[in-house]
């Protein structure tokens, strides 16, 4: 009887430890939900020929404007 209680108690301790470690892991590596949402639905490697650009311009006429977040060494515009 005592042996069974010890086994159940140890199992509960193990389950609790695993669950806490998983939570910590998730907190350290959050899913990049925002990035996924913002990705273009079309494939990255799809080519954009000059002929199709006119058509694309029309379809993107009302595309949302996204705020600027310059990274690395981009060229600053001159005015």
């Amino acid at each position: 009887m005592i042996r069974q209680i010890i086994i159940i108690f140890t199992s509960l301790l193990l389950i609790s430890a695993c669950s806490s470690s998983d939570e910590q892991d998730r907190a350290e590596h959050p899913a990049p939900a925002a990035t996924v949402e913002l990705m273009d639905s079309r494939s990255e490697g799809e080519s954009t020929s000059p002929a199709s650009i006119k058509a694309l311009k029309k379809s993107h006429k009302n595309a949302p404007i996204i705020l600027i977040q310059n990274e690395d060494d981009d060229m600053q515009r001159l005015d």
């Binding site: 799809e46 954009t48 650009i53 996204i66 600027i68 981009d74 600053q76 515009r77 001159l78 005015d79």
Partner: protein, 295 residues
């Protein structure tokens, strides 16, 4: 971000003494500016000024070197720049979209000088979208914004070149100088460069094609001859000479960078508004060549 270092050098190059310089600032900003701050801004491209001092120097610069463009177009550009710098503005996306609607209509009115500046502003708005679209992997929208930016910069360039030629023919005072046209060329190159991730910039054919078919390097050298303190121009010249694997041009622009300010002799030097060239992959080839030349 305004390049205060170059603006202060341009003002000083008129032959002003420091006393005159400080008096002129006093007229705009009665609280005055500590001479040590002004000297530091003149000596160090990494030195930052507070808002009031920046504003006073920019105002003085605009008084001494007035823009050739109509005041209403300059006001629109200022509104757009202030809008961008206001990160807490909640309706910024919609305001920029509305701004574009207004510009699309307004661009058809007025003389060529006004229209050129509005094309320039519209191109700026499209150019400003490129880094985010690139980082988000929105390749189709990126291609469209890049093309629109290039189209409007090109239209602005053609209109301004036409005005310059006309002024030269009729022997009027030429208001469109080389530096104004250089700025447009630089922005067109920025459309190509900023739409690429850093690791693609050495190999992208459209960037190399534009570089080899434009006179960007020659224009950079011409502007540096007149204004040797323009470290941004020297830095960009070095960047594109490196991408183009041109050793002679790399050496020229590295020297120009050191002439602009000796602090650039250190590849790890970080000026205000740009990372150290050591940290930027586009300068890798140039750094190798310069180091080999030194040994």
């Amino acid at each position: 971000m305004s390049n205060l270092y170059s603006k202060i050098h341009r003002l000083k190059a008129q032959g002003w003494t420091w006393e005159t310089f400080l008096q002129k600032i006093d007229l705009i900003y009665p609280a005055g500016i500590d001479p040590k701050t002004l000297y530091a801004l003149h000596r160090k491209p990494h030195h930052q000024a507070n808002n009031q001092i920046s504003k006073a120097i920019l105002e003085l610069h605009d008084q001494q070197f007035p823009s050739p463009f109509p005041a209403d177009t300059q006001a629109l550009l200022n509104i757009y720049n202030r809008l961008l710098s206001c990160k807490k503005h909640s309706g910024i996306d919609q305001d920029i979209k509305d701004f574009l609607v207004f510009l699309a209509s307004d661009i058809n009115f007025g003389d060529n000088l006004r229209r050129a500046r509005l094309h320039w502003l519209k191109a700026d708005i499209h150019l400003d979208q490129l880094p985010t679209l690139r980082n988000n992997g929105q390749s189709q929208a990126l291609a469209v914004q890049k093309e629109l930016a290039l189209e409007h910069y090109q239209q602005s360039y053609q209109l301004l070149e036409g005005i310059k030629t006309q002024q030269q023919k009729s022997q009027q005072a030429v208001t469109i100088d080389d530096f104004t046209l250089y700025k447009l060329q630089q922005n067109m190159l920025a459309c190509h460069l900023n739409s690429l991730h850093a690791d693609q910039r050495y190999t992208d054919q459209s960037l190399k094609h534009y570089l080899n078919h434009s006179n960007f390097i020659q224009s950079s050298k011409r502007v540096l001859h007149t204004e040797p303190y323009q470290w941004i121009i020297a830095r960009n010249g070095l960047r594109f000479s490196s991408i183009n694997s041109n050793k002679a041009d790399c050496e020229f622009f590295y020297q120009a960078l050191i002439i602009a300010n000796s602090a650039f002799a250190d590849f790890n030097y970080a000026p205000n508004g740009a990372p150290p060239i050591m940290q930027s992959t586009e300068f890798k080839w140039a750094i190798q060549q310069i180091n080999e030349g030194i040994q």
